[in-house]
Symmetry: C2
């Protein structure tokens, strides 16, 4: 039977024990690395033995947070805790044999699958790091710069540096705690956010040159043929969330981006500011989503798909 | 004799009085508009009569914050308060006759010129809005969404949405208060930060296509001839802080941007991540600055200037 814990119960559970091994998820992001590092450092600051289980998928961008904290294997008697792991499938391949042995899951994914006996899950939390930070405070951990930076990385990366819709007062409060405890906020922001791959920048440059403005620039449509992605040599990482870019042109209220997949299938993504309805456009092509962001698949050659989307925009937004 | 006030003394001073007229600065930014709006709304919430003096220079971007708060002229007996005004010269032309009549200045510019009898100045504060917020709290003002949004606009715009080096724990704490009081943080961020002019995007696209990488992409140089700016039709607003852009390419540690002025004179701007020294490069051309950002003027045709800067970079950064 899975049991849901509060922050206070989680703190009590951790305080009662010693010897911890903390697990992060596959394709690790700033939140799973930051959360696991913060929890490990917090436990150590109370005199406990704690390690992060070495995750070979952690990239250079975040590996510094795990420096000096990892070990290759859990030991007999270790309490296993996962951070930011939403489902068994999110565990790295190498951690799969540990399934069923993980005692506690700390996570903020609402639609997650339970796979541990105990869990602290708060889907209202923008990041797992905020949750870990709350638990550490309950345990009486005093923040030092290392803990603060781990929490800050998790919190800031999962909110796009406080710009995403998930950002709450609690997120800002956590960031305030981190800054007060000595996190190098400016330096971290420069590295984490004020950087774009050259491939991404080339793609954005291409979009600026090929974007089609409608209705005096309040609507934008951009169709990206497969051949362009191949010529520019962009990776999937470079293309991540590219559909949000055309909406950032000043004056654009609703923007549609069409991407041609390898098989010629076209993927439509629509982004809109408040007052416009992206889902209405996507619905015209059998798709769906929210007012702010929606998508659909279109079985037409990309040039024809573009024309159909332009017609839909002009019809829906008078 | 100018007298410096604390936040508490400022709160007491404002509480003692009624009938206020609040002044913003010329070329108004989010902080002067947000600070003046927040102060006006806060005073009104305590039952006092308060207005913002109509500033015709306020642009559409921020004008909504002053809606319903302005009047055209101060009245007999009004206490005049300026927010975010660093010097007499920063007052709009239309406000100049009021010099000498402004009772209190609330500001966060350290190098400011005193021009009022009383002042609350804290140069450690990232924004004037944070200061105003502190004073309102001391006065017992309860934040409502309108006050919270005015404070949030000031705080977020003066810190580049919490990314600039001036961001402090107090800044995040203020943002937390604003979010808790109902400020639409996500919507404001989208409008204020997730937007670029088409001219700016075209300039960035040109830079991506013409940037010159040195030392395996750790250094970047970009020379922007006058003719390119004219062809693209970019404005000075579009070019604002453009020299920070080449540094944002992933992997670039130090970036030099050269811009050709109308008279052919070349302006060099260098930006560097921690560990690199921009000032050292600028000094080679008789300029100066900080390790992170420095500049110089170069009296050479832009192509020759670019070669000289590349040579300087290769020599200084082995």
């Amino acid at each position: 039977m899975m049991k849901k814990l509060t922050r206070t119960e989680t703190a009590a559970y951790l305080l009662e024990r010693d010897h911890f091994c903390i697990l992060s998820h596959c394709r690790p992001d700033g939140d799973t690395v930051g959360s696991s590092a913060a929890l490990c450092l917090g436990l150590r600051s109370l005199g406990k033995t704690a390690h992060v289980l070495f995750n070979e998928e952690v990239t250079e961008r975040f590996a510094w947070l795990h420096e000096g904290l990892t070990k290759a294997q859990p030991e007999e008697g270790d309490t296993l805790v996962s951070t930011d792991v939403a489902a068994p499938g999110m565990l790295p391949q190498a951690f799969q044999p540990l399934l069923g042995k993980i005692a506690l899951r700390i996570d903020h994914h609402g639609s997650a699958t339970s796979f541990t006996e105990l869990e602290l899950v708060d889907s209202a939390s923008a990041s797992c790091a905020e949750l870990v930070w709350d638990v550490l405070k309950e345990m009486g951990v005093k923040a030092d710069p290392a803990i603060a930076e781990a929490v800050y990385v998790g919190t800031s990366t999962d909110t796009g540096c406080f710009r995403y819709a998930n950002t709450t007062a609690h997120t800002f409060q956590t960031a305030a705690d981190c800054a007060a405890a000595g996190a190098r906020v400016f330096e971290l922001n420069q590295t984490l956010f004020e950087t774009n791959s050259l491939g991404r920048l080339k793609m954005q440059a291409w979009i600026v040159d090929h974007i089609h403005m409608l209705r005096c620039g309040s609507m934008a449509v951009c169709a990206i043929p497969r051949s362009v992605e191949e010529e520019l040599g962009v990776t999937e990482d470079d293309m991540d969330n590219i559909s949000s870019f055309p909406r950032t042109v000043a004056g654009v209220c609703i923007a549609a981006t069409l991407r041609e997949a390898k098989d010629g299938h076209v993927k439509l993504s629509v982004r809109a500011v408040p007052g416009y309805d992206a889902a209405k456009i996507a619905a015209k092509f059998g798709g769906g989503g929210h007012k702010g962001a929606a998508g659909a698949g279109i079985d037409l050659p990309i040039a024809e798909a573009e024309q159909a989307v332009e017609a839909a925009l002009l019809e829906e937004c008078p």
